[in-house]
C-alpha cells in the first residue's frame, strides 16, 4: 500500500470489536483494516459512532472491560498487540506507542505537577534516575514550546491554558520518542489559532523523529491539511482509504462524497450544502446488512443488502463498495 | 421506561439493594403493626424472669419477666419514628439552607457556613447530649437535637450540589424563560439536588437511630419502662457478665439490622430516583 516495499509499522487486519451493554451487544467495529507506514500521518475521519476512537483505543489496548475483540490482528512492529500480555503492552505504551487525547486537561492528573508527570514516563521507560528525568522533562517542555520551562515544570495543570496543557500532553507522549503517536481529536476545544500551532508542533516533532501519526478527527479540514492518507469510517466499517488529495478531489465511496458535500466550505452557499439522509444504523441489531451505509445510500441495490461487502483495492486506494463512484 | 419498570430493573440487577428493601419492609411492618402482632404485652412483667430463649419466649425474658421479643418488636415503632421525625426535619431545613447558600453565595453562604462550622466544632454526640440535657429531657428534644447535629452534613452536601449547578446552561435557560431567582433555585436546581439528598436521608436514618438509642442508653430521652432498643441494651448490659446475654443482644441486633438496612437502601434509592440512570 505504501509503495516502498517496507512492511508497515502498524497493520490492522479484519478487526471486529463488540461491547456488551445493558441494552444489547453493540457491534462497534467490523472488519476494520488499514495500515500505517513509518513516518506517515494517517487521518481517521468519521462522524460520531463511526468507531474511530474505538479503533484507537483497541490499538492501545485501553478498552473498557465490557469490550470484546471478536476477530482480527493488530500488528505493530512485528508484534501482535492483541495476543500480547499486559507486561509486554505496558512496555510498549509510552515507549513505542503513545497517545494524546481530546480533552488535554482531563488527561493530566490535576494534583501533580506537570514536570513530574512527564518525568514519570521517563522513569518508567528510559532507564534514568530521578534527577536526569527531571532535567529531561524541562528540556521536553522547551521542545514543545512552553516558555520559561523550568518554572512551568513546577506548575499544576489548572495553572495552564488549554493549549499549554495539550503541549504538556504532547511532551508526555513524545518523551520516549515513540514510533507511532495516536492523536484522538487533539484539537477539539482549542481555539483555532492554538489548534494550528499545536498541529504544527506535532508535525514538526514527528518529522524530526520519523514518527508516524494516526490522527483521529471529525474535522475534514484538519485531515486535509495534516494527513498523507485518510481512512474514512462509517458505523464501524472502513469505507474508504486513499491518499488525501485523491480522496477529497475524487471520492469513490458514496459516504465520503456525501460527507464532503455536507461540510461548509468557502464559495458554497447554504443551499449548496447537502445533508446525508437517514441516520446511523442501530449497532445493537443482529440483522445489520453487510453494508452499513446502504440504508442511506441512493446507489444501493439488493445485492448491497445481501452479499458480503467487497473491499476493492486499486492504485493505492481501498473502497468498500459494490457501486463506487 | 417507566419509573416502576426502572425500579424493578434496578432491584433485579442489584440483589443487595433488593434485600435491603425487603428488610426495610420487615422493619416497617414491625413499626406499624408490631404492637398488634406481638405475643405478649411488652410492659407486662411476669414471674419468669431472666429466662433464656425458648419456644415460649423466642428472645427470652428480662429481669422483670417481660418478653424480650415483644419489646424488641414494639420498640421498632419508637426508634424508627423518632429517627424518621428527626431526619424529616433536618432534610427539609438542611437541604433548603444548603441550596440557598450554594446558589446565592455571598453573605448567605458565609452565614450558613459559619453556622454549620459551629455545630461541627463539637463532637456531635456530646453536643446532642448537651442540648437534651439543657433543653429538657423529652422525646421532642431528642428529635430536635438529632436533627441539629445532622444539619451540617445536609447543608454541606446540598450546598456543593447547588454550587455546581449554579452556572449550568439550564439555569441560564430558565432565566431566559422568565424564571425568577427563587423559581430557578427551587424549581430547577433543587430537583437536581434531591437525588443526592435521598442517599443522605437513608444514611442519616441509620445514624439518627443510633443517636436516639445512644441518648436513651445514657438515660436521656426515653425513660423506662417504655420499650426502646437503647434502654434495653442499657438494662441488659448489667446482666451480660452473669450470663444472661439475650437481654442486651437482641435489641443490639435489631439496632444493627436497622442501621444496616438504611445504609444499603441509600444507594438503591439513588439509582431509582435519578433519571439519568434510566435507559
Amino acid at each position: 500500500m505504501n509503495g516502498t516495499g517496507q512492511p508497515p509499522l502498524l497493520s490492522i487486519e479484519d478487526l471486529s470489536v463488540e461491547f456488551g451493554t445493558r441494552s444489547g451487544t453493540v457491534r462497534a467495529l467490523e472488519g476494520v483494516g488499514f495500515a500505517i507506514a513509518r513516518g506517515e500521518t494517517v487521518g481517521v475521519v468519521g462522524e460520531s459512532g463511526s468507531g474511530k476512537s474505538v479503533t484507537a483505543y483497541t490499538v492501545m489496548r485501553l478498552l473498557d472491560a465490557a469490550a470484546r475483540v471478536t476477530s482480527g490482528r493488530i500488528v505493530f512492529g512485528g508484534l501482535d498487540l492483541l495476543a500480547a500480555d499486559e507486561a509486554t503492552l505496558a512496555e510498549m505504551r509510552g515507549r513505542e506507542l503513545s497517545m494524546i487525547f481530546q480533552n488535554p486537561r482531563a488527561s493530566l492528573n490535576p494534583i501533580r505537577r506537570v514536570g513530574d508527570q512527564i518525568a514519570d514516563v521517563l522513569l518508567r521507560h528510559a532507564n534514568v534516575g530521578a534527577r536526569e528525568a527531571e532535567e529531561r522533562a524541562v528540556a521536553l517542555l522547551a521542545e514543545v514550546g512552553i516558555p520559561d520551562p523550568s518554572r512551568r515544570a513546577r506548575a499544576y495543570p489548572f495553572e495552564l491554558s488549554g493549549g499549554m496543557c495539550q503541549r504538556v500532553g504532547i511532551a508526555i507522549a513524545l518523551a520516549c520518542r515513540p514510533a507511532l503517536l495516536i492523536a484522538d481529536e487533539p484539537t477539539t476545544g482549542l481555539d483555532v489559532t492554538t489548534q494550528a500551532t499545536i498541529m504544527d508542533l506535532v508535525a514538526e516533532l514527528g518529522a524530526a523523529r520519523g514518527m508516524a501519526t494516526m490522527l483521529i478527527t471529525h474535522d475534514l479540514g484538519l485531515a486535509t491539511e495534516r494527513c498523507d492518507r485518510v481512512v474514512v469510517m462509517h458505523a464501524g466499517h472502513v469505507v474508504e482509504v486513499a491518499e488525501t488529495g485523491a480522496l477529497f478531489s475524487r471520492p469513490r465511496h458514496p459516504y465520503t462524497a456525501r460527507l464532503l458535500a455536507a461540510t461548509p466550505r468557502p464559495g458554497l452557499s447554504l443551499s449548496e450544502i447537502s445533508t446525508i439522509p437517514g441516520g446511523l444504523p442501530d449497532l445493537r441489531r443482529g440483522d445489520l446488512p453487510p453494508c452499513r451505509f446502504a440504508a442511506r445510500c441512493d446507489r444501493r441495490t439488493d445485492e448491497c443488502l445481501t452479499l458480503k461487502l467487497p473491499r476493492l483495492l486499486e492504485a493505492g486506494r481501498q473502497v468498500a463498495c459494490r457501486h463506487p463512484l | 421506561m417507566s419509573a416502576l419498570s426502572h425500579a424493578r430493573h434496578v432491584l433485579a440487577e442489584n440483589p443487595v439493594t433488593a434485600l435491603s428493601f425487603c428488610l426495610f419492609a420487615l422493619l416497617a411492618l414491625a413499626a406499624l403493626a408490631g404492637p398488634a402482632l406481638v405475643p405478649y404485652d411488652p410492659l407486662a412483667s411476669s414471674d419468669r424472669a431472666l429466662a433464656p430463649p425458648s419456644a415460649l419466649h423466642w428472645f427470652g425474658t428480662d429481669n422483670l419477666g417481660r418478653d424480650v421479643f415483644s419489646r424488641v418488636v414494639v420498640a421498632t415503632r419508637l426508634d424508627l419514628g423518632m429517627a424518621f421525625a428527626a431526619v424529616a426535619l433536618v432534610f427539609v431545613t438542611g437541604t433548603l439552607a444548603g441550596v440557598t447558600a450554594g446558589f446565592l453565595g455571598g453573605w448567605t453562604d458565609r452565614v450558613i457556613g459559619r453556622l454549620t462550622d459551629t455545630i461541627m466544632a463539637f463532637p456531635l454526640f456530646v453536643l446532642a447530649m448537651g442540648l437534651v440535657a439543657a433543653a429538657g429531657n423529652t422525646v421532642a428534644n431528642v428529635v430536635y437535637a438529632t436533627a441539629i447535629i445532622n444539619f451540617p452534613i445536609y447543608a454541606r452536601v446540598a450546598r456543593t450540589e447547588a454550587n455546581i449547578r449554579r452556572d449550568a446552561g439550564f439555569v441560564e435557560a430558565a432565566r431566559l424563560a422568565g424564571a425568577s431567582t427563587a423559581t430557578v433555585m427551587l424549581g430547577e436546581v433543587l430537583p437536581n439536588v434531591l437525588p443526592i439528598m435521598m442517599v443522605q436521608v437513608s444514611l442519616t436514618m441509620g445514624y439518627a437511630i443510633l443517636n436516639t438509642a445512644g441518648l436513651s442508653f445514657i438515660g436521656l430521652g426515653i425513660r423506662p419502662p417504655t420499650a426502646e432498643w437503647g434502654i434495653m441494651v442499657a438494662e441488659g448490659a448489667g446482666y451480660i457478665v452473669s450470663g444472661e446475654w439475650w437481654i442486651a443482644l437482641f435489641p443490639g441486633l435489631a439496632l444493627m439490622l436497622a442501621v444496616f438496612t438504611f445504609n444499603l437502601m441509600g444507594d438503591g434509592l439513588r439509582d431509582i430516583v435519578d433519571p439519568r440512570r434510566r435507559t
Binding site: 474535522d219 460527507l259 461540510t263 | 424563560a177 422568565g178 433519571p275 439519568r276
Partner: protein
C-alpha cells in the same frame, strides 16, 4: 464611544442597537484597608453593535475575547458595567438582570446554547423544557400549553414521540432541536445563538442550519450567531464582527471581511482555518507570543500589539484609530491590510 454601524439608506431601525457596552470584573477581591484601586478585568470594552431586521450577524473571536460575556449582556442574563442596549425603543441595560425575567421584552430576546445537553434540565422532559417559556412568559396552561408545545416541536422537526424523553435519551441533533424549539416558542425578535452546532456532526449541522434559516424566514427573526467555526459563519452570516480581548477589531459584510480582512488578527484567524478538501499551498504565518492581559489594559495601546505580525512602536503608544477599509466596513488598526487573503 463608537456609534454602531447601521446602514444609512435603510429606513427600518435596527432590532437591537448596543453602544459603549462595558463589563469589568474586580480581580482578587477587595482589600479592606488598601488604598490601591482594585484591578479590573475588562471582559468587554466599549463594544457597539447593531442587528438589523432579518439580519444574521456573526460574532467571532477566540476564548477570552469577551463574546460570551457580550452575549450574556445582550440576553440580559448579566448586568452591564456601562453602556446601553436599545431594543424596541427602550434601554434594556437600565433594567437589572435579576429583574429582567419579568420584563415584557424577555420573550423577545432568546438564546440557543452550545451545549444543548447542559442547557436542558436533566430532571425534566423535552416537553417540560419547551413548555417553560410558554408557561412563564405567555401565561399558557393546560390544553393550550400542550398544543403550543407540540406546534413548536413540529416546527423544529422534533417528532411528538420524543417530547416525553429526558435529555440523556435524546441524540445530539434531537437535543439541539429541543433547544431551538424552546428558544423560538415565544417567537422572539432577536435570537442569540451561542455555537449552536459546534457539538454536532457535520451531517446534522447542515440540517440544523437549514432549520435555523427556515425559522428565521417564517418567524421574521434576526440572529446574532456566535461561532468559532469560520466556515459556518461565512456560510450563513450577512455581517460579521471580530472580537479580540474585549474589543471589536473589525466589522463588515461577511464575504468582504473573509475575502479581504483588514485587521491582522482577522487575517490570522482566517489563515488558521483549514479548508476541507483543499490543501493549502505554502506555509502560513503563525501568531506568536502570549495575548496581553485583559486586566487594567493600557488604553493608549492596541490590544493586539505584541502578537501582531505588523506591529510597530506606534501600536504600543497609541490606541488604534477607526478605519474604513471598504463600504459598510470598519476596523481598528494603525496598519490595516489591503491585499486580499
Amino acid at each position: 464611544m463608537n456609534a454602531p454601524l447601521v446602514e444609512a439608506e435603510v429606513t427600518a431601525p435596527p432590532v437591537l442597537a448596543a453602544s459603549g457596552l462595558c463589563k469589568r470584573y474586580p480581580v482578587g477581591g477587595a482589600r479592606l484597608f488598601s488604598r490601591r484601586a482594585v484591578p479590573l478585568l475588562h471582559a468587554v470594552d466599549r463594544v457597539s453593535l447593531a442587528v438589523g431586521a432579518g439580519e444574521t450577524v456573526g460574532l467571532v473571536g477566540e476564548s477570552g475575547c469577551g463574546k460570551t460575556t457580550l452575549t450574556r449582556m445582550l440576553a440580559r442574563l448579566i448586568d452591564t458595567t456601562e453602556g446601553e442596549i436599545l431594543f424596541a425603543g427602550e434601554d434594556l441595560a437600565a433594567v437589572p438582570a435579576a429583574r429582567f425575567a419579568r420584563h415584557p421584552a424577555r420573550a423577545s430576546i432568546q438564546m440557543v446554547f452550545q451545549d444543548a445537553e447542559g442547557s436542558i434540565n436533566p430532571r425534566f422532559t423535552a416537553a417540560d423544557a419547551i413548555a417553560a417559556p410558554l408557561r412563564r412568559l405567555k401565561g399558557l396552561r393546560g390544553a393550550p400549553l400542550a398544543a403550543a408545545v407540540e406546534r413548536a416541536a413540529e416546527r423544529c422537526g422534533l417528532p411528538k414521540t420524543l417530547l416525553g424523553r429526558f435529555p440523556h435519551q435524546l441524540s445530539g441533533g434531537q437535543k439541539a432541536r429541543v433547544g431551538i424549539a424552546r428558544a423560538v416558542a415565544t417567537e422572539p425578535r432577536l435570537l442569540i445563538l451561542d455555537e449552536p452546532t459546534s457539538a454536532l456532526d457535520v451531517s446534522v449541522q447542515v440540517v440544523i442550519l437549514d432549520l435555523l434559516a427556515e425559522l428565521k424566514r417564517d418567524l421574521g427573526m434576526s440572529y446574532l450567531f456566535v461561532s468559532h467555526d469560520l466556515n459556518v459563519v461565512r456560510l450563513i452570516c450577512d455581517r460579521v464582527l471580530v472580537m479580540y480581548l474585549g474589543r471589536v477589531v473589525e466589522e463588515g459584510p461577511a464575504e468582504a471581511v473573509f475575502r479581504a480582512p483588514a485587521h491582522p488578527y482577522t487575517r490570522a484567524l482566517i489563515d488558521s482555518v483549514a479548508i476541507p478538501g483543499r490543501k493549502r499551498d505554502g506555509p502560513r504565518p503563525r501568531l506568536t507570543g502570549e495575548p496581553r492581559s485583559p486586566i487594567d489594559p493600557d488604553p493608549q495601546a492596541c490590544r493586539f500589539h505584541g502578537r501582531c505580525p505588523r506591529g510597530q512602536d506606534l501600536c504600543g503608544r497609541a490606541a488604534p484609530p477607526e478605519v474604513t477599509p471598504g463600504p459598510k466596513r470598519r476596523a481598528f488598526c494603525h496598519f490595516p491590510l489591503t491585499e486580499p487573503a
